[in-house]
């Protein structure tokens, strides 16, 4: 009778231990996934917000491409548009020469590419083979030509 009690106790402890390990493991997986999903969501939201500002906003101040030549610190926000989805070649050239102006977007690892029908007009960020976790492409008009702007974040 006494021996049977000990076996019951051992089996009970084993089951409890298994359940405990399962819970700890699942909790760890769950929070890791949550963190990963949350990061992916933040990246996606940031990509959507950034591409919208770049393609639909003129920037702040609106003539930031002129101001950036003498006072880069005076540029509060970069925007490439003249009107929604019509980009200014001057703004593109200025940003291409001063990619640090994108620092205000706090994008960490990113790649921004603007192309017209024949050439790459702008490349900012890391030119690596890293797979992007969020990628946004918009069709744009640049001067009399058409092209696209691609923003990738990871």
């Amino acid at each position: 009778m006494k021996g049977q009690m000990r076996i019951e106790f051992i089996v009970g402890v084993v089951i409890f231990a298994i359940v405990l390990v399962f819970i700890v493991n699942q909790t760890n997986i769950t929070f890791t996934n949550m963190l990963s999903d949350s990061e992916a969501d933040i990246l996606k939201a940031k990509a959507l917000n950034s591409i919208m500002l770049l393609t639909e906003d003129r920037g702040d101040p609106i003539n930031w491409e002129t101001i950036a030549q003498t006072n880069p610190g005076g540029v509060k926000r970069v925007g490439l548009a003249i009107s929604p989805f019509v980009l200014s070649i001057n703004k593109i050239n200025m940003l291409d020469a001063n990619c640090t102006l994108l620092d205000n977007f706090v994008l960490k690892s990113y790649r921004l590419v603007v192309k017209n029908s024949t050439h790459t007009l702008l490349l900012c960020g890391y030119d690596t083979l890293n797979p992007s976790r969020s990628r946004e492409v918009r069709n744009v008009k640049i001067g009399n030509d058409y092209g696209n702007i691609t923003l990738e974040l990871w």
Binding site: Q26, S38, D41, K141
Partner: protein
């Protein structure tokens, strides 16, 4: 036995804990980005199309190359236009002889940088009226009674019926019911549009917009004018030589109407041996229809008083028979076009979750033309 129950309790508790906690572990914070992605893509498409009139005109001509090229491969789409007529209108006619006559009326219409073409197809009204026909034209037709239900069914399915009849030949209740007119009881020699109110009915807007397509001769107010193309100018001369206008593309000229008033015209476009001439005045007059009728429907054109020479009952439009002159042809074309300005260049053919994005487009400059393009998007896979 007591020990066994103890173990059973532990096992049940463990199972319950796992089940309950599974629900907690299943929690995901990841959002569904499908809709924002589709909205972003759709917004980009409609705004991009707005950058150049030609993009939207290509959509109206059912050329979707741009959208096909720029959309992700796993995205399906449908398009709907409200406010701009179809570029190819399929018109049904009932007999070869009448089809030829209708073809002579419905020549290509040029407006706001594009041609609207009428494609004719003969059908047998005794069998059915095919739903794929955008409009049917019945000329001095007398069997309305026999085919009344077919016509009403066709109208209720979105079809358009243009009945060109002198009412004296069709003084029957079914004819009058379809077009909402009464028997002949009035007449008048000078007819005009009742009001220029595109928000109520835009036949006049299209009439002024599409103008008159002119070759080597132009019939206006039942008088023949000879048209000669000399370099970049066009010489429009009355057949008896008593009057002429010598104008270039874009220039205005005036003519005296049948009521003695002066009416202005513009050479809208010149091609090789042909021109498009627009009437400018919203009080443009018509000299004579074969008949006028009391109105129960919406009066579009008529003499002063209650009588009408053209009425609209939704998409059933009656116009009195008319003599040979180009203003009547343009009126018939305008009537059909006006009822075909809400259509789907590309149907939505999915049952999957969809997102719709729309934008307004403005075409110019022959007539005000503001239309809405709706693009419906969904993930095909």
């Amino acid at each position: 036995m007591k020990g066994f129950i103890y173990l059973l309790e532990i096992a049940v508790t463990a199972i319950l804990m796992v089940v309950v906690l599974s629900a907690f572990f299943a929690i995901r914070v990841k959002q569904n980005w499908d809709e924002p992605d589709l909205v972003g893509f759709g917004n980009n498409i409609v705004n991009f199309l707005n950058q150049d009139d030609n993009f939207f005109i290509r959509i109206l001509e059912e050329d979707f190359t741009y959208i096909e090229k720029s959309k992700p491969v796993n995205v399906g789409y449908g398009l709907k236009v409200k406010g701009s007529p179809k570029s190819k209108i399929l018109v049904g006619c009932t007999q070869p002889l009448l089809c030829n006559y209708i073809k002579s009326i419905l020549s290509d219409a040029y407006v706001n940088g594009r041609y609207i073409k009428f494609l004719l197809e003969e059908f047998d009204i005794r069998n059915s009226i095919p739903n794929y026909l955008d409009a049917i034209v019945l000329v001095n037709y007398t069997n309305y009674t026999m085919n009344k239900q077919r016509i009403l069914d066709y109208l209720s399915s979105g079809g358009m019926v243009l009945g060109i009849n002198g009412t004296y030949a069709n003084n029957d209740d079914d004819f009058n019911e379809i077009f909402r007119i009464n028997d002949t009881s009035a007449s008048g020699s000078i007819n005009s549009f009742i009001a220029y109110k595109p928000s109520k009915d835009d036949i006049e807007k299209y009439f002024l917009g599409i103008g008159f397509d002119v070759g080597s001769e132009w019939y206006i107010w039942e008088e023949r004018w000879k048209v000669n193309y000399i370099g970049s100018r066009v010489n429009i001369t009355k057949s008896d030589g008593s009057d002429y206008n010598y104008v270039s593309e874009g220039e205005f000229f005036d003519m005296t109407g049948p009521n003695g008033n002066t009416y202005w015209f513009r050479v809208n476009k010149m091609g090789s041996g042909k021109a498009n001439i627009q009437a400018i005045d919203i009080d443009f007059v018509f000299k004579d229809f074969s008949d006028s009728s009391d109105v129960r429907g919406v009066k579009i054109v008529g003499p002063t008083g209650l009588a009408a020479s053209m009425t609209a009952n939704g998409t059933a439009i009656w116009m009195s028979d008319f003599p040979r002159s180009d203003e009547y042809r343009s009126l018939a074309k305008a009537a059909i076009i006006s009822r075909k300005d809400e259509w789907a260049p590309k149907d939505v053919y999915t049952t999957k979750e969809k997102t719709t994005v729309s934008s307004f487009f403005s075409l110019c400059c022959d007539m005000p033309e503001v239309s809405e393009l709706e693009i419906t998007l969904w993930y095909a896979v």
